[in-house]
C-alpha cells in the first residue's frame, strides 16, 4: 500500500478523552479517568487502520471521540482540513454524511421500533430530503442487496434477524450515504466465527468498490491482521506502537505488542523464535490510577528504573522503508528484538 504518497484525509492530534469519575462515595471528589490520553495518527484515503488492545484500553472511546459522538477533552481531529471538534453542531451534523460508524452489538444498534427499510433509509432522507420515495426505496433495496440481504426483508423488524444479518443491516445503514470513513467498533466480536469472516469480507469488498477508509477496532489480532493496512496498538488510552501491518507482525517492538502476539492463538512459525517474550499476565491497571512513567511497566518483563520516571514518547524505528513508518513508545525497544 503506497498510501503515504497521498494526503491523509483524517489527522488526529493529541486526542484526549477524560471522564470525570466520582471516587470515594457520596462526598468523594471527581477524578479524571483518562480513557484516551494524547493519541495521534493519520488515515489515508482508502486505508484501513486497525486499532487493537485489551478490553477497557479505550478503543471504543477513541473511535467515538474521533466521530465526536462523545466530547473530547483535548486535541484535534482534522477532517479534510476542518477540526471536527470545534465545528458548530450543525456543521458537524453535515459532516456526518462522510463519517459513519458500525457498532459492536448489531441488534442493540438498531431501533427496535423501525423496519429495516426505514432504518437504512433514514440517513438518506435526512441528508437528501428532496429525494422521492421511489428513489429512496430503490437505493435502499440496492444497498440491502449489496450487503447480501434479500430486498424483501426491508419490511421486517430488527428482532426478526440473526446477529450476522443485523450487522449487515448496520453496514448497509452506514454505507447508504457513501461515506468516506467508517469506524468499525468491534463489528464482528459478537458474531460466530464463520459469520465474522463474511462480514469482514463484505467490509473489504465495499472498501475496494468505494475506496473508503476504515478504522477497524478489535481485540482480535488475527482479524486485525487480515483487514488492516496499518495497525495501532493502544494501551491504557495511549499509543504503544503504530506500524504498517506486515512490519508490525514481523517485527513487533513494544513489549506489550509482543505479549499480545504471544497470547494470540495464531499459528505462526516465527513465534518459535519469540520464546523469550514475556507472557501477558494479569489485568491492566485501573485507568483511574495508572502507574507513573510508562503505564505498562507493572506488567513488563523488560522494565527498569528509567521506565518509572516519565512516559516514553513515540520514537521512529528506522530512517527509511517500513521502519520509517514504525513508531514505538518504549525506552528499551532496541533491546527486545533479537530477530535479526
Amino acid at each position: 500500500m503506497s498510501a503515504s504518497a497521498i494526503q491523509p484525509i483524517l489527522r488526529v492530534r493529541d486526542l484526549a478523552v477524560h471522564f470525570p469519575v466520582r471516587v470515594g462515595g457520596l462526598f468523594g471528589r471527581w477524578k479524571p479517568l483518562k480513557a484516551v490520553d494524547g493519541v495521534s495518527f493519520d488515515i489515508m484515503a482508502g486505508e484501513t487502520l486497525g486499532i487493537v488492545g485489551e478490553s477497557g484500553c479505550g478503543k471504543s472511546t477513541l473511535g467515538r471521540a474521533v466521530l465526536r459522538l462523545i466530547p473530547a477533552t483535548a486535541g484535534q481531529v482534522v477532517w479534510l482540513g476542518d477540526d471536527l471538534l470545534t465545528l458548530e453542531p450543525d456543521d458537524m451534523r453535515r459532516r456526518r454524511r462522510d463519517l459513519q460508524i458500525v457498532f459492536q452489538d448489531p441488534l442493540a444498534a438498531l431501533d427496535p421500533r423501525m423496519t429495516v427499510g426505514d432504518i437504512v433509509a433514514e440517513p438518506l432522507v435526512t441528508f437528501h430530503p428532496d429525494l422521492g420515495g421511489d428513489e429512496v426505496r430503490r437505493r435502499v433495496r440496492d444497498m440491502v442487496a449489496k450487503v447480501g440481504l434479500s430486498p424483501e426483508m426491508i419490511n421486517r423488524y430488527p428482532h426478526e434477524f440473526s446477529g450476522g444479518q443485523c450487522q449487515r443491516i448496520g453496514v448497509a445503514r452506514a454505507m447508504i450515504l457513501r461515506p468516506k470513513l467508517i469506524v468499525c467498533d468491534e463489528p464482528v466480536s459478537a458474531l460466530d466465527v464463520s459469520i465474522q469472516a463474511q462480514i469482514i469480507n463484505l467490509l473489504m469488498a465495499l472498501q475496494r468498490e468505494f475506496g473508503l477508509s476504515l478504522i477497524f477496532i478489535s481485540h482480535n489480532l488475527s482479524v486485525v491482521r487480515h483487514i488492516s493496512h496499518r495497525v495501532l496498538v493502544l494501551y491504557l488510552g495511549r499509543v504503544a506502537e503504530l506500524a504498517p501491518r506486515d512490519e508490525l507482525f514481523a517485527r513487533p517492538r513494544h513489549p506489550y505488542t509482543q505479549a499480545l502476539m504471544a497470547a494470540a492463538p495464531v499459528p505462526d512459525p516465527r513465534r518459535e523464535r519469540q520464546k523469550l517474550r514475556a507472557r501477558l499476565e494479569g489485568d491492566p491497571p485501573s485507568p483511574l490510577d495508572p502507574p507513573s512513567g510508562c503505564t505498562f511497566r507493572t506488567r513488563c518483563a523488560r522494565a527498569t528504573e528509567v521506565c518509572a520516571t516519565a512516559m516514553p514518547g513515540l520514537e521512529t524505528v528506522g530512517p527509511d522503508g517500513a521502519a520509517a513508518q514504525h513508531h514505538v513508545a518504549c525506552y528499551h525497544w532496541r533491546d527486545g528484538f533479537r530477530n535479526k
Binding site: R64, L69, R94, Q100, M114, Y157, H159
Partner: protein, 307 residues
Amino acid sequence: MLTYAIKRLFGAIPTLLILVTIAFFLIRLAPGGPFDDEREIPAEIKANLERVYHLDEPLIQQFGRYVLALAQGDFGPSFKYKDYTVTELIWGGFPVSLRIGGIAILLAIAIGAGLGTLAALRQNSRLDYTVMGFAMTGIAIPNFVMAPLLTLVLGVHLKLLPAGGWGGGAVRNMILPIVALALPHIAYISRLMRGSMVEVLRSNYIRTARAKGLPERLTILRHALRAALLPVVSYLGPATAGIITGSVVIEQIFGIPGIGRYFVQGALNRDYTLVLGVVVFYGVLIVLFNLLVDLLYGLLDPKVRYD
C-alpha cells in the same frame, strides 16, 4: 388482534365474578341495613320493604338472584333513590366523572411525559432537580390533603376559583378537582418518564441515530420518545385505577355529582345495589382499560405478539 381482545374480555369474566362475590358479602358484613334510618319506621313497613327488595331471603339466595340479574345487565333498583335504577344513577354520574377523570389522566400523561423528558435531557441541571423535587412532593402528598390545601389557598384565601360545587360543569369549577386528581400522577409519570428517557438516551440505537447525522430534536421524537413511553403506558392501567379511587375522594370533597359520590353515599346508606353496581362498573372499566393498554403496547413495541 381481535381474537386476542375477545379472548381477554371473556377471560375477565371470572375476575369480575370474584369481585362481585367479595363486594357482595363484604358490604353485608357492615352493621345496619338500608332501611335503618335515623327516622324510625314502623316494623311492618320495614318488613314489607325488605320483602319487596328480597332482603328477607337467605343471603346466598339473594346473591344468586343478584348475579343472575347482573348477567342480564340488570343492576337492580337503588334502595335509597327509590325512583331510580342503579343503571340510571351510574349513567347519570358517569359523564361527570369521565370528564374530570379523563382530563386528569390526559393532563397527567402530557405534562408528566413532557417534564420527565425535559429533566432527562438536562440531566443533573437545576431544572432536573426542580422537576424531581416537585415529583417527590407530589407523590408523597395524598390527594385528600392536597385537595383541601388547594381549596384553602386558591379558593378561600385568594378567591381565584370556586372552592367547591359543580356549577353545571363550568370550567372554573373543574380546575381544582382536576388538578388535585392529576397532580400525583403528573408527579409519578414525570419520574417514570425521566428514568426511562435517561435509559433510552444511553442506548446504542440512539447513538446510531446521532451518528446518522439526525438533528437532536428528531432523534428524540422519532427514536427515543416511543421507547421511553413504554413504562408510562404500562402505568396507565394502575393510573386509571388510581384516578377512579381518587375521584371517590375528590368528588366528595368538591361536591361533584359523579359516580364517586354515589359510591360514598351508597356505602354510608347501605344502598347495597348502588355500591355493588358502582364496584362492578369500575371493575369493567379497569378491565377494559388494561386491555386497551396492552393493545397500545403492541403498537409501540413490534416485539409484542398477540396470541
